[in-house]
Amino acid sequence: MAMYIRVKRSKTTYFIQCDPTETILDIKQKLRVLIDQPVNNQRLILMGTGEVLEDSKTLADQKVENDTIVALTLRKDDNEFEDVDIVKPNDFYQSRDADGGSW
């Protein structure tokens, strides 16, 4: 394992082991096993920049590094993707994701 990323949706975080040379599609296939949602219904968004990650590109291409937080959104019934929804614990550390995961 070269690295891992943290994929977050609602109150759940998935730690996904990966390699910088893997594509976003590879990551979605790993997530498919965990969440039972086909890759077409998944969208991954880089939390630092709000950029939607493209299936064909690699993690390295899109500057996704070790310990990066990536938001997962799913396709809703009306075929649109839901908004990013990451619940944070309501404690003194609330601001930690705001600084773009610099730790």
């Binding site: 891992y4 759940t12 996904i16 965990l34 310990d67």
Partner: protein, 98 residues
């Protein structure tokens, strides 16, 4: 990657962290729960609830598990701990034999 190879750790506030069993077993306590046959309900469902561990601390612990795996494979980086977390983190580490 298979679902059976992962385990879900649940914090005091009900936040869930899905991590590889391999990573979770960095903790001797979790290793015992997952490997002792039939003695823990956790073994069946692959879920462990920690009512005493806050979400922030549990996430830090999961990050530590992965850092520890990387370190053991020769990737020698530092593990950063915010000073205000140290006490709570030490108490959790003690409980988890980590």
């Amino acid at each position: 990657m298979k679902k059976e190879d992962t385990v879900k750790l649940i914090s005091a506030e009900g936040f869930e962290f899905v991590i590889d069993k391999e990573a979770a077993m960095v903790s001797q306590t979790i290793r015992n729960m997952l490997t002792s046959p039939g003695s823990f309900a956790e073994t069946e469902h692959g879920e462990v609830t920690f009512p005493e561990i806050s979400t922030t601390i549990l996430e830090k612990i999961c990050q530590y598990f992965y850092w520890s795996l990387q370190y053991s494979r020769g990737k020698e980086t530092d593990f950063h701990i915010e000073p205000e977390l140290t006490l709570e983190l030490m108490m959790a580490a003690n409980y988890l034999h980590t």
